[in-house]
């Protein structure tokens, strides 16, 4: 070894030593973050840092090539607990009605596209695609050599079959999602052209997406015909990284590695056993005892999150979740009556009914509400567009919305509406379910404290609440949405006059619209849905969101957090941390 080489080596080792020890000793993570620790391989820098933090770092470790790479083993059985659910009713995409179900189907079936952690579409069964000039024709090159779990080859015919099935309301509950697709042409065994009725900005992220989209999640014709619908619902056959090998409804579902998956590096585990666990305490105990490795399903009850975070055997990951929750106020009932939302906000502010609506929305201290009702685990909401949407989310809306918290202004507004200090204000009833009862109690207390008004809880079974909500038979209703990955999920589904939730079963002679209607918002929502340019679309989305917030389409409360918990032996890479989803194909076990 020459002097020069010795000198370089010394310098290299010195630099490595300094880097390894460059962390705050009080930091339990030793300056490392989750991505540093994510598998399947830990980097040299990470391993040296861990050795230094544990006091085990020696000069030998600093020699180039001396550090063994801590490699996560592939294979093994991953046990997952699906929280807050009694059974995994179906994973047939045509019948899936809950986020917690498409969390599973996303591991079994594929779409033409799949969203990434930034909620952008990436090719799944589609290798690439081209769009024509006016955005009405998408030509997809499909992945070749892909087979379904039953051995059938995946071709363009399966895309067409899935479309034909999904557009039939007798076969699929998602026919509305493909209403804008006028036809799908087969251009070759692995090439299709999708022809739209009108340009659709959300096509790739919503309609063609493998998990939340559902309508175009590719199903196997052969399997459906041979298995029948109910069996297919329990053990759907797709082209995804895992295949279903067993499903005891309400007990457990077993997924096994699809050896023929198009990406030979995935999945990372041999088997996944998913158990639905409806009660929070047994769920927590099973997680702590190691009976389950990872969480999925409904949001983890916020009261458990601190407990999980303080457990050194567990990793808790909290990111913004895709959804919103709020209080709907019936504009056809006194004292919140507003029969025309098309007026400018300043003009609406002169109407007593609108004053009451805005006073209620402004009187809700969302920070306090989130602390008391959700243990601080949520983001205050002022519109339907959620922070998980990232690019489309308006960070400034908390400061700009007319609904921003201001107790004094709310009191003044209520007084101006004729109810000073809440005097003479009629008692309102708020519709809620057993699971939102605590939320409603917190709201009741906040409104009593800040406005002096009385709210009574009206706790109903969900189907009953829904009947009354759809018929506009309520004063206030505590409701919201989950699984909103594209702006369309928030504003087309929830804010437009023709939204499916906007008083669908109301008496249309007495109520020309449901709980909100503004032609300007309708125009913006329609325009954004056909605007392909992201920047232009973002402006339209945020404008519609702002108006519906300012005009109090509802009193928005919070955007839920997406909390996942896994045991330390699980390597859950950032690439799989997609809000609302639980993609297990890149997960490995140490």
């Amino acid at each position: 070894m020459t002097d020069r080489t010795r000198s370089d080596l010394r310098s290299f080792m010195k630099q490595s030593w300094d880097e390894a020890n460059d962390f705050d000793p009080a930091d339990p993570m030793a300056g490392l973050n989750r991505s540093d620790l994510a598998g399947p391989q830990l980097g040299r820098r990470t391993v040296l840092r861990l050795l230094a933090a544990s006091g085990a770092l020696t000069a030998t470790h600093l020699l180039p090539g001396a550090v063994p790479q801590a490699q996560a083993a592939t294979g093994g059985t991953l046990r997952a607990g699906w929280s807050g659910v009694g059974e995994l009713r179906t994973i047939d995409p045509a019948q899936i009605n809950q986020v917690l179900l498409f969390q599973i189907s996303s591991n079994v079936l594929s779409g033409l596209t799949h969203i990434n952690p930034a909620l952008q579409a990436e090719g799944d069964l589609a290798l690439d695609w081209e769009v024509n000039g006016d955005g009405t024709e998408y030509t997809f090159n499909l992945r070749e050599g892909v087979t379904f779990h039953n051995g059938d080859a995946f071709t363009a015919d399966d895309v067409i079959y899935t479309y034909q099935r999904s557009k039939d309301p007798e076969k699929s509950i998602h026919s509305r999602v493909v209403a804008n697709i006028k036809d799908i042409e087969k251009l070759g065994e692995h090439k299709v052209k999708i022809i739209l009725g009108a340009p659709q900005a959300s096509l790739l992220v919503k309609t063609l997406e493998r998990s939340s989209g559902r309508a175009m999640t590719i199903v196997s014709r052969g399997a459906i015909e041979s298995m029948g619908l109910s069996e297919y619902g329990l053990k759907a056959v797709g082209t995804g990284p895992f295949k279903v090998t067993d499903h005891q409804l309400g007990q457990s579902m077993t997924l096994e590695r699809n050896e023929a998956y198009w990406d030979p590096n995935r999945p990372g585990v041999d088997k996944v056993i998913i158990t639905p666990i409806i009660d929070p305490e047994p769920f927590a105990a099973a997680m702590e005892a190691g009976d389950i490795h990872i969480s999925g399903g409904n949001p983890i009850p916020p009261e458990l999150v601190d407990r999980f975070e303080s457990n050194p055997d567990l990793v808790t990951s909290i990111i913004p979740g895709p959804g919103f929750q709020g209080i709907f106020m019936n504009p056809w009932r006194d004292p919140m009556k507003v029969t025309d939302f098309s007026k400018p906000v300043e003009e609406l502010k002169k109407e007593k009914g609108f004053m009451v609506r805005l006073a209620i929305a402004k009187a809700i201290d969302r920070e306090l509400y989130i602390r008391q009702a959700h243990f601080g685990r949520a983001t205050p909401a002022y519109g339907t567009i959620n922070p998980a949407m990232g690019y489309y989310y308006d960070d400034a809306i908390a400061a700009t919305s007319e609904q921003r918290f201001d107790a004094e202004a709310a009191q003044a507004m209520l007084a101006e509406a004729g109810f000073p200090g809440g005097e003479g204000f009629p008692e309102l009833r708020i519709l809620c379910t057993a699971s939102t009862r605590r939320d409603c109690l917190v709201i009741k207390n906040i409104l009593k404290k800040n406005l002096g008004i009385n709210i009574e809880l009206d706790v109903k079974d969900f189907p009953v609440l829904l009947d009354e909500f759809r018929a506009m038979s309520f004063d206030l209703c505590r409701l919201g949405s989950g699984g909103d990955f594209d702006p369309d999920d928030g504003i087309v589904d929830w804010i437009q006059t023709e939204s499916k939730f906007n008083g669908r079963d109301r008496n249309k002679d007495e109520m020309p619209f449901g709980w909100f209607s503004d032609p300007e918002v309708d125009r913006l929502v329609t325009e954004q849905s056909v605007t392909a340019d992201p920047a232009a679309r973002k402006a339209l989305v945020q404008q519609a969101n702002q108006i519906s917030s300012d005009k109090v389409a509802q009193a928005f409360l919070y955007h839920p957090s997406d909390t996942m918990v896994w045991r330390k032996e699980v390597n859950f890479p950032d690439a799989s941390r997609i809000p609302g989803l639980v993609d297990l194909d890149r997960v490995t076990l140490s």
């Binding site: 009694g86 026919s175 109910s230 309400g250 007990q251 158990t275 047994p282 190691g290 969900f462 669908r504």
Partner: protein
């Protein structure tokens, strides 16, 4: 006896029909549209209308009833209308072994605790051991099964790691695996019933111990063990068997809380979730199953009376 059993069986069928019919109409009187709820936030309203027609839910109630009744007589209980479309018979057949296993083990736990406790309490009447057993029985009765279940999970699963916290594994995967999953649920469900049975054993034994034939037995010079186990206990069993029969029936139908805590999908949970989702075919099927079990366990108890005490064997 055979004629008696036939008559009782016929009566049991009538009871089951009456229960199922009552539930059929009551369920439809409840507000809440199952299809609208299923499709909330996800589905197409048009699809709900199509499915409503497909499932016959747009028909008058009496038409729906007649359709259900005639299909039921042919052994077709329909399929779940809330998402899965799985046949109700398949749902019930999968759940029945879980509930039967849990009820059976809970029953065993209850009997193992109750009979010695009741006997000791009766034979040591008024002494500290009697007061102790009475106190423990009241504690057992007062303790909610879900609370006991959670305590057991925290102790034996989360802290000691001896038993799995949740789930059910069929016996085909190994007797210990099956038993280890059911031990805590069985203790949680069986404890309250053990208290009830123990109280019944005690009072029944006290009644019998006061009778003349027991005095005669002692006068004949029989040993206390022979008197208690050979003469007093069998005669004290009649009311105990009645309570045990009811307890077993109740265990079959009322373990829903324990099933929920331990993530076991049994008949109770099927019934509750079916009601909450307004999944009519599932609720009707589960009600039929539960009433079948209840009615026939009671029939079995009646037959057992005759086996235990030939004097009261019912004449056909």
């Amino acid at each position: 006896m055979t004629l008696y059993i036939l008559k009782r069986s016929l009566g049991a069928i009538v009871v089951m029909w009456a229960v199922a019919t009552l539930v059929f109409f009551m369920l439809r009187l409840l507000p809440g549209d199952p299809l609208a709820a299923m499709m909330f936030d996800a589905g197409d309203p048009a699809a709900a209308d199509v499915l409503r027609v497909k499932y016959g839910l747009d028909q008058p109630i009496y038409v729906q009833y007649w359709r259900w009744f005639t299909l039921m007589l042919q052994g077709d209980l329909g399929a779940s209308i809330y998402g899965s479309r799985v046949p109700v018979s398949q749902i019930l057949l999968e759940a029945a072994p879980r509930t039967l296993s849990l009820a059976f083990l809970s029953f065993i736990v209850a009997v193992i605790i109750a009979i010695p406790a009741g006997l000791v309490s009766a034979l040591r009447r008024g002494r500290p051991v009697d007061h102790g057993v009475t106190f423990i029985a009241f504690v057992g009765l007062s303790m909610p099964d879900f609370w006991l279940g959670i305590l057991l999970i925290l102790l034996f699963a989360a802290n000691l790691g001896w038993l799995p916290a949740i789930g059910y594994v069929p016996m085909s995967e190994g007797v210990w695996t099956w038993l280890s999953h059911l031990l805590m649920p069985a203790i949680a469900a069986g404890t309250a019933f053990s208290a009830i049975i123990a109280r019944m054993v005690r009072s029944s034994m006290l009644e019998v111990l006061k009778t003349d034939f027991i005095r005669v037995a002692y006068a004949k010079g029989l040993k206390p063990n022979q008197v208690v186990m050979g003469h007093a206990f069998p005669n004290a069993l009649i009311p105990v068997i009645t309570v045990m029969g009811i307890a077993f029936g109740l265990l079959m139908a009322s373990t829903v809380v324990v099933e929920t805590v331990f993530a076991i999908k049994g008949l109770g949970r099927i019934l509750i979730e079916g009601i909450l989702n307004r999944d009519y075919p599932v609720v009707q099927g589960a009600i039929l199953a539960v009433s079948f079990i209840f009615v026939f366990v009671n029939l079995l108890v009646d037959i057992l009376y005759g086996v235990i005490d030939p004097r009261i064997r019912v004449q056909g």
